[in-house]
């Protein structure tokens, strides 16, 4: 198994009453409510948490980014990945990921990622995402070409990583007269690419066709199983067998020394989902052209308030269906075993805390996860044959038969 630590990097230190008054805390919620003094403290706490996660035995640190919203103050995952590349020794730096359509110059992304891979001595896993709907607006990028830009930027980055330059790129959305970045990744043929997602069928199909592991973001167990059915079917059509090494899952999971405390802190996962602050404005989160045409009806109804947010389940329901897991190591391990047995992922991200959970409680959670939960999960993983892409030595993509290895490494 590959076990990762994750936090959304919440910026809880803002006036929640202002958010409630405004009715949404994204995009147009004024950044005058951002407190850089608290921001400075929080960024440094989050860095401490990542380093602690390495100390207590996590295999990877999962990073992401969002824009214009307090639920995530990490605006550029490559910045944190760069810092961690130099300040950690062992963990994989798993970016889930860089929002490709937001980039006007994917070659620059290819360079940044190559630098992170080299500084970390080949520990980069470079995931790619489409970016949330409102992020298209936050960065002035056309939502109607989101998926086209995603695919084209991906193709350009992989080419820049794997084919000697200079070459010319004349695409539909990107035109580069000269592609010849001096820095290229240490890992050959290129760093592993994992693709996270939650809703879009097109992304699952695309990842499966590329033979990239897909990371399901906190979906319900039954929905997760449907994702794997679909992935495995495309894998079979593409000519390989799906299985645990292509399956990842992000689990909201808070551990404390007592059940009561764990449950109280786990309620903070609802902070991001809007129980306390309101998260998404339905219009901004679903700009026209961003979503798959098959969801058009659902999203226009959502946008005018005729349908509730499909992700808006109550806390108790999410505890019941295990989208949120909370407790002491003793009670949490059997729940995670059920998840592993039923959905068979080999990559697991642990989203350990959110909202106002204190620095001390977050550290306790990371420590208990590392010391008590992860060893038990590794045993279960062995028992169930949940070999990660690293353990299974799976190829980096459909186009390359070899697994990723640092250049010059003895196989």
């Amino acid at each position: 198994m590959h076990l990762m630590y994750f936090t959304e990097q919440p910026m809880s230190a803002y006036p929640a009453d202002e958010g409630l008054k405004f009715g949404a805390t994204a995009l147009m919620f004024s950044n005058k409510h951002f407190d850089p003094v608290a921001g400075s403290r929080l960024y440094n706490e989050y860095l401490d948490h990542y380093r602690l996660a390495e100390e207590v035995g996590f295999d990877g640190i999962m990073l992401n980014e969002h824009h214009n919203a307090p639920f995530c103050m990490q605006a550029k995952c490559n910045v944190f990945a760069s810092i961690l590349a130099a300040t950690t020794k062992r963990v994989k730096l798993v970016l889930l990921g860089n929002p490709l359509p937001l980039a006007d110059n994917p070659v620059r992304l290819a360079e940044e990622l190559a630098m992170i891979d080299m500084v970390s001595r080949g520990r980069l896993v470079s995931g790619f995402v489409r970016g949330g709907g409102q992020e298209q607006l936050a960065t002035g990028v056309n939502p109607a070409f989101n998926r086209e830009r995603f695919e084209e930027a991906h193709d350009l980055i992989v080419k820049a990583w794997t084919q000697p330059g200079p070459f010319r790129w004349e695409g539909a959305h990107y035109q580069h007269r000269v592609v010849n970045p001096w820095a290229v990744p240490l890992q050959k043929p290129h760093p592993r690419v994992w693709i996270p997602g939650v809703l879009s069928k097109e992304t699952i199909v695309w990842a499966a066709k590329k033979r990239y592991p897909y990371i399901a973001l906190s979906t319900e167990i039954e929905a997760t199983k449907k994702i794997w059915e679909q992935y495995d079917q495309v894998a079979q059509e593409t000519g390989y067998a799906g299985g645990p090494e292509y399956r990842g899952y992000l689990q909201r999971c808070h551990i404390a020394e007592t059940e009561e405390k764990a449950l109280a802190n786990a309620r903070q996962f609802m902070w991001m989902q809007g129980e306390f602050t309101g998260l998404a404005h339905p219009v901004w989160s679903s700009p026209s052209g961003y979503f798959s045409p098959s969801y058009r009806k659902a999203f226009v109804e959502y946008a005018v308030g005729r349908r509730s947010n499909p992700r808006g389940a109550a806390f108790e329901d999410q505890i019941h269906n295990q989208q949120i897991v909370a407790g002491t190591p003793k009670t949490v391990i059997p729940k995670l075993r059920r998840l592993l047995e039923e959905t068979r992922p080999s990559i697991m991200g642990f989203w350990a805390a959110d909202g106002f959970v204190s620095n001390e409680d977050t550290r306790t959670c990371i420590r208990l996860l590392g010391q008590e939960v992860l060893p038990a999960l590794r045993d279960i993983g062995k028992e169930l044959g949940l070999w990660s892409p690293f353990e299974a030595n799976s190829p980096v993509s459909i186009n390359f038969a070899e697994p990723a290895q640092p250049a010059g490494a003895v196989a």
Binding site: L137, N142, A144, V283, S288, R296, K297, F299, V300, E301
Partner: protein
């Protein structure tokens, strides 16, 4: 305005590989009517009033309402060129252009392409030029209903035309149309910075009409259009917002008819 029994015919016309839905009615000099970014209802009393004096040609823009989306389109000028081809294919001469809102931008682009090519040019609340003080309302930040309501000075007029709660199928069509607007007019949003310069070469007599209470495209854009065009005057319609043809159909039909029917 008295109800009429105007007979509208519709056909699919193939121009430059684009399948255009075209509604046609009336007789007289040809008048090409170009609709808003939200598309257009099938029937409006305003259209019927125009058909009493003109041969009205009402295409659905490529990618809007009943016209299929050409995936290759990237700019409003692309639509303007397709319409030039449409008129050429029909051998139409002495055509007047009437552009409503977003359609006004298309009409203005067409006029710059053929400075002497049209009989009259009428722009109503036209997008296409950048305001110097205000802003063109950003529909990406507004729900479908809120955006269209913003274009009405009188909300009762919205209710009459779309219903107080428009149907989901109307919303889906608005979403499709919005997506097409994003595909061709996302950045810069709803204007072309070279257009004001090119308008100076247009010799077609022009009438610029604006709703006094237009909250989608500020009135100053009407002033800019009237100034940039060689021969133009600005008429402001009191009590109307952006969708002048839906709120004040008689007043607008009368302005258009008097202007475009001139020899």
């Amino acid at each position: 305005m008295t109800p009429t029994s105007t007979a509208w015919e519709s056909e699919t016309v193939h121009v430059a590989g684009v399948a255009l839905h075209l509604a046609r009615a009336g007789s007289g000099a040809p008048l090409l009517v170009l609709h808003h970014d939200i598309g257009s209802p099938e029937h409006l009393p305003f259209y019927d009033a125009l058909a009493e004096r003109f041969t009205v040609l009402r295409p659905s823009h490529p990618g809007y309402d009943r016209s299929a989306r050409p995936d290759w389109m990237r700019s409003v000028r692309d639509i303007a060129v397709v319409y030039q081809s449409l008129l050429a294919a029909r051998g139409a001469t002495g055509v007047s252009l009437l552009g409503l809102g977003f359609g006004g931008w298309i009409a203005a682009e067409m006029a710059t392409m053929a400075p002497r090519g049209f009989h009259r040019l009428v722009l109503v609340g036209a997008m296409g030029v950048k305001p110097e003080r205000g802003e063109i309302a950003d529909q990406a930040l507004l729900s479908y209903i809120d955006y269209v309501r913003r274009g009405f000075a009188d909300q009762a007029a919205f209710d009459r035309i779309f219903g107080a709660e428009p149907s989901t199928s109307t919303l889906e069509q608005w979403d499709l149309n919005r997506e097409m607007s994003f595909r061709i007019a996302w950045k810069p949003y709803m204007y072309n910075s070279t257009l004001p310069h090119l308008l100076g070469g247009v010799t077609t007599p022009a009438l610029v009409v604006w709703g006094r209470e237009d909250r989608i495209v500020p009135l100053e854009c009407g002033e800019r259009y009237a100034k940039a065009l060689g021969q133009a005057r600005l008429e402001v319609v009191e009590g109307a917002g952006h969708f002048v043809e839906m709120e004040k159909p008689e007043a607008l039909a009368s302005l258009v008819t008097r202007f475009a029917a001139q020899a």
